[in-house]
């Protein structure tokens, strides 16, 4: 009689039991396959004396891919080969990019650390020429300038951004989608264009001279998308029941917002402000086009030249002396410290959220 159904067992895949213990032998193969290519590549590097990057990409990577594929094949059969490759490639690229990024951080910390001293923070730049030793002069005036310019931008942008977020989350306005996509598009506005805009609007038309507040105005379109997007996110996380409860108890909408929704979202709003400030504190191009750098400390934001940390950094890089580069590194470290502090504060603010975070997805 003809056999209708083939009842012979299918071949059982080797990785059919992912919960099973990894055999010691396989462990050995994995360890070997992750060490051997590195050893061979290192030996090749030392013997042939080729460039590191060349060896990394022409010797180490192919070997490591082969080894990863072999380990996968050994452990899990044919289906394991691609798994091994995926892991190798992922680890390789992730390590590569982390090394690059950490090298940015490290170089700033190392070189900036040499330039920084207490007086670097409070002295200004009067009587300091680019080749002067680092014993005198500092970025005090630029720190003050940065705080003033970014501060004014923040004072204008934050209410605007939060109100925009309110429009998107709390009202039934018709153009919410349009505003959202517009803000999304604005977040990609080239910063130099923002500077050109203020230049065209205020300075070229003779309304004002180069001054700090022009720089603040140029930062607004750059800061607004960040603030309103994060604030929107924060307001969205407030449970609907809270504001509906307030409205049901008879509170008018503005009261429900100010006394219920806003306090519940306060940590998110703080995060929005901090991230907005972090976004613009290092902006250089718009400030170069709208402010005039100065060596002295200037407290008047409406008149006269005013240096900021990024423009100070830019000026000293373009001068091109060794000492001026060192000062630039110092300024870079100060900017990095500021950004780091803002970030830490933002994380702290998010962590101390009293309300439980609702799941984002419905």
């Amino acid at each position: 009689m003809e056999k209708l159904i083939d009842l012979s067992p299918v071949e059982r895949p080797a990785n059919a039991q992912p919960w099973a213990k990894i055999q010691p032998r396989l462990k050995g193969v994995i360890a070997l396959s992750s060490v051997l290519p590195a050893v061979i590549a290192l030996a090749f590097l030392l013997i042939s004396g080729n460039e590191f990057m060349g060896v990394l990409f022409t010797v180490f990577l192919p070997l490591q891919i082969l080894a990863g594929g072999f380990a996968g094949f050994y452990g899990f059969g044919r289906r394991g080969i691609l798994d091994g490759l995926l892991l190798v490639v992922t680890y390789f690229f992730a390590t590569f990019v982390l090394v690059l990024l950490v090298s940015v951080l490290w170089s700033v910390i190392e070189n900036g650390g040499k330039a920084i001293s207490p007086h670097f923070f409070y002295q200004n730049n009067v009587y300091v020429d680019p080749t002067a030793p680092l014993e005198i002069g500092g970025v005090g005036h630029a720190i003050i300038g940065s705080f003033l310019i970014v501060g004014l931008a923040t004072v204008i942008t934050v209410p605007l951004g939060i109100a925009t977020a309110v429009y998107i989350t709390e009202t039934q306005g018709k153009s919410r989608g349009l505003i959202r996509s517009l803000l999304q598009a604005m977040s990609g506005l080239p910063s130099v264009v923002a500077g050109l805009f203020i230049y065209a609007l205020l300075i070229a038309s003779g309304i004002t001279q180069y001054a700090g507040f022009a720089g603040s105005l140029a930062l607004i379109p750059l800061m607004l998308p960040t603030v309103s997007r994060v604030a929107e996110e924060a307001l969205r996380l407030v449970p609907k029941e809270l504001r509906n409860g307030a409205l049901a108890l008879g509170a008018p909408a503005w009261r429900a917002f100010l006394q219920v929704t806003l306090p519940a979202a306060s940590s998110g709003i703080v995060t929005a402000v901090l991230l907005g400030v972090a976004r613009v504190i290092g902006e250089t191009a718009p400030l170069i086009l709208t402010t005039f750098s100065a060596n002295n400390t200037n407290l008047n934001i409406f008149e006269g030249g005013m240096s900021t940390l990024p423009t100070y950094l830019y000026n000293y890089v373009t001068m091109g002396f060794d000492t001026s580069l060192q000062r630039a590194w110092g300024a870079a470290l100060v900017i990095l410290i500021l950004v780091g502090v803002l970030f830490a504060a933002a994380r702290f603010a998010t962590r101390s959220t009293p309300a439980p975070k609702a799941k984002k997805r419905k």
Binding site: F93, T171, S187, A204, R255
Partner: protein, 326 residues
């Protein structure tokens, strides 16, 4: 018994969706006004830039301005064409994106699916922090440390693959090339793309991944057939955002790229010759004549429109990819 008349509730106040009281009207009015300020700002940017740029467009001709080459104010009539700059912007941004995308996706995949929790958490913080590093700092790193290292890589690439026109170099000098500028831009946008991609990965439906594994899928097939297709929209959106950032990058590219105004460099990425619209604006702004300023404004308009288009596409794709957000 007569039938009772049906009870009719008399509403004590009008039930309306619109705000009725004055303070509420003020509240919603403020919110609406603020929201429309975004429209006002964007259109004001366009209007004022176009207004100031008009003389340049008029004297040079729109197509000539965008596609012609040469930027010289000593000639009469002056020549203000941004063709090489615009092409250079796209070239540098493309190089940056080509380098950045695999790295960003790898690191996002590593953080979300491979790394142990503690490591993933600190790597997330690191990536988010690096996304906030100002570009001028990366430019400083690029010009004083990375350029020489990358020039070594470029030289090696040239010595091995120099017979390809793509990697040829006749200048004998490997510094300040689009290749290096592209790498610096890549370092700048990797954290941006990575943090968006990671977020998309983390918000993915865990069930479909588990389902794929339960059906006998391995890591690789799950990644290729389930994770990537599901997240593709968001990832593409993130990449386009990175591309927009790369196009608008000013200071860092100005530091590490040799701007050549009168000659296109179409694909020889190792030649020390390239361009970028934003850097052109920065380079020429200092001692510009009024006519030249108009040209720079026009360059700004072109740049703005280009990034606006890319960002509009990006936000459309991201919104499509995250239907749960609305």
């Amino acid at each position: 018994m007569t039938a009772e008349a049906p009870y009719q509730a008399t509403p004590r106040r009008k039930l309306v969706v619109k705000p009725s009281t004055v303070p509420d009207k003020v509240f919603f009015g403020i919110a609406t006004a603020a929201a429309y300020s975004a429209i006002v700002i964007t259109s004001a940017i366009l209007i004022f830039l176009v207004l100031r740029a008009w003389p340049a467009f008029e004297s040079q001709g729109l197509l000539n301005f965008i596609f012609g080459s040469g930027w010289d104010t000593s000639l009469d009539p002056i020549v203000l064409h941004i063709g090489p700059m615009l092409w250079g912007s796209f070239l540098v941004a493309t190089i940056g994106v080509i380098f950045a995308v695999p790295m960003a996706i790898s690191i996002a995949y590593f953080i979300e699916f491979i790394a142990p929790k503690a490591l993933a958490k600190s790597a997330t913080i690191l990536v988010d922090l690096l996304a906030a590093i100002p570009s001028v700092v990366i430019g400083l790193w690029g010009v004083s440390l990375f350029s020489t290292v990358a020039a070594g890589w470029a030289q090696e690439l040239n010595s091995v693959l120099g017979w390809l026109p793509l990697f040829s170099n006749n200048a004998g000098n490997f510094l300040r090339s689009p290749f290096i500028a592209g790498l610096v831009v890549a370092v700048m946008i990797v954290p941006i793309i990575a943090s968006i991609t990671r977020e998309i990965f983390s918000q993915m439906d865990q069930e479909i991944i588990k389902a794929s594994l339960a059906l006998g899928g391995n890591r690789e097939s799950t990644f290729r057939k389930v994770i990537l297709p599901t997240a593709a929209g968001g990832v593409v959106g993130g990449v386009l955002l990175g591309l927009g950032r790369a196009l608008g990058e000013t200071v860092a590219i100005f530091f590490v790229l040799n701007l050549v105004y009168d000659d296109f460099n179409f694909y020889q990425i190792l030649e020390p010759k390239g361009g970028a619209v934003a850097s052109l604006i920065l380079a020429k702004f200092g001692e510009a004549t009024p006519a030249e300023i108009a040209g720079l404004m026009a360059a700004g308009v072109v740049l703005f429109v280009a990034t606006l288009i890319i960002n509009a596409i990006a936000s459309y794709i991201v919104a499509k990819a995250q239907p749960w957000r609305n």
